[in-house]
Symmetry: C2
Subunit: 328 residues, 2 copies
């Protein structure tokens, strides 16, 4: 999707800086063969580079000229993201990530724990070298929120009666917090006034919530070859997401009971996936999720009202549409 997004011109404005980010990401380690190989494998596992693009576009939208700090910060955001993905795959025991073996499947949980730790501590080291306390604070707060959300998600595995506020807290923490910190950091690097910084942080937060909700919808709605993982992966792993919460809220007693039985098994077979998709279809859970998405995306768009017109602001607006329309 890096290619796709660039074809669409979505990140075209910062294409040069994104290439510099790739260079920076490929050279994080000196003198340690295994660490370097695994870190590169994890980082090269593609990914959409959404967080680096958010840093860069937010910085540009605030008039940043000087690329070096933007590129450093964009790399930090992606390294933190990669670190959490590596650890998530251990937590979820995921054999694949984006259609190829996960770092854990390829190198084992032992190495993966350490490489995740390394990428995160290198990212912190880079932030410290940059010497901007406000930016550090944003990323530190985001990583605390991320780990809190991941633990909350574990606590609610297979919990069909998870309160919606807890679900939204998980969504905010696991995805939106780092996107928000990325936008905030971009604006701070550009020396934007406080109101603009906060507007971009709000944009990143709302966009991130929408992004994760779309992800949760696609898990039931998309075709497997687009997902790079099996359909209904979330449910297979016990993660109850909005489409299922919606079904639980509106379904017939019989359908709810069937769902409760299924969750009670804590193990899903292929026939169950067809049943899950049928329930999601019957109770229009995808349109319901997308209505929720639209609310967040509308607020994301509105937040950009605080910024003057610019090509970067245009790109951030188009990114909102892209989140809505994506089936990648």
């Amino acid at each position: 999707m890096t290619e796709l997004a660039q074809q669409n011109g979505l990140f075209g404005l910062v294409a040069e800086e994104l290439r510099a980010v790739e260079t920076c990401l490929q050279a994080p380690v000196g003198g340690n063969g295994l660490l370097s190989s695994v870190a590169r494998y994890a980082i090269a596992s593609g990914g959409k580079r959404v967080r680096p693009a958010l840093v860069l576009l937010a910085a540009r939208a605030c008039g940043a000229k000087e690329a070096t700090r933007m590129v450093m910060l964009a790399s930090v955001a992606e390294m933190m993201h990669a670190a959490t993905l590596i650890h998530d795959d251990i937590v979820d025991r995921s054999p694949t990530r984006r259609g190829r073996p996960s770092t854990m499947a390829r190198w084992g949980a032992e190495v993966s724990v350490l490489v995740g730790d390394f990428l995160y501590s290198r990212a912190v080291q880079m932030l410290v070298a940059d010497e901007d306390l406000r930016i550090m604070r944003g990323f530190a707060d985001a990583t605390v929120a991320m780990t809190e959300a991941e633990v909350l998600q574990l606590q609610h595995l297979w919990n069909l009666t998870m309160p919606e506020p807890d679900y939204l807290k998980i969504v905010r923490g696991k995805t939106a917090a780092l996107m928000s910190a990325s936008c905030r950091g971009g604006a701070q690097v550009a020396g934007a006034p406080e109101a603009v910084i906060e507007a971009l942080a709000a944009y990143g937060l709302q966009l991130g919530i929408g992004f994760q909700l779309v992800d949760d919808a696609l898990d039931y709605a998309a075709r497997e070859e687009r997902l790079g993982k099996p359909v209904a992966s979330d449910f297979r792993e016990g993660k109850i997401t909005y489409p299922i919460l919606h079904v639980m809220a509106v379904a017939s007693e019989a359908d709810r009971a069937a769902l409760v039985r299924l969750a009670g098994q804590q193990s899903i077979e292929e026939g169950d996936v067809a049943f899950l998709r049928a329930l999601v279809e019957r109770y229009a859970a995808i349109p319901a999720t997308m209505r929720l998405v639209d609310g967040y995306l509308a607020r994301a768009r509105a937040s950009l009202g605080a910024l003057p017109d610019s090509p970067a602001r245009e790109s951030l607006l188009r990114l909102v549409d892209f989140v809505r329309e994506r089936d990648w």
Copy 2:
């Protein structure tokens, strides 16, 4: 050993601050049941609180008066230490830690990965709130060195011909780096001059190397009930430490060949442990290790020459002796 050390008066000078550290460590999390429980379990698994004591004694030796920042920094050092222990137990698949189930054994690798991440990111958040870039830099550098060392250790599992510089790099990274950062941070909190900060950082580094080398010797020399884990745990996990490197350097060809066969099996039985201990005895590997220790500890003592006489400096000197004599 917290009790033991306090009986010995080793940390008596900072007993009050150490109690404040305990309070701080017990209250790291708000509003998340599982995270809080596991973090407390991991932190309460005892430990010697050496790193907090180093922060506090270094600060006192530099004339620090105000306890709040010292206690915060001491807590940060212990949280980072706890985070690495939690992740190490995943890496080593250790069922026990200090004679009770490891966090991983008790709560699973999934939760343990996240709780380690949480403790580390909370520690970073606390450092950011303290707003001292030099202190942040010291701890960030230490955590990068720690993860690099852990990966290097994995690369050298079962490697009887590991170069001694790599072994010492592992020892420095996995133990001494954080002890050094703790001493450095204590001196920085106290506003010590640069030369004194560097002297205390050097003290912590040399002390930490000695500390880890003693640990590696005790793994073969101590009784199981003192270790809280089986004798020769390191070899069982494939970790080749100084006593074994010494045997490889001086043993007869037949003994070396037997050791190579044993390492080749990558799995050790009780009879093998007796053989390992016999080799360690025959080739005087413990005295050889302790000679190396003595060099580092002498340099640790010498580093304290840069400081004026004080009760805290006395305690740091006694800690050097204690590292030498410990069988805990």
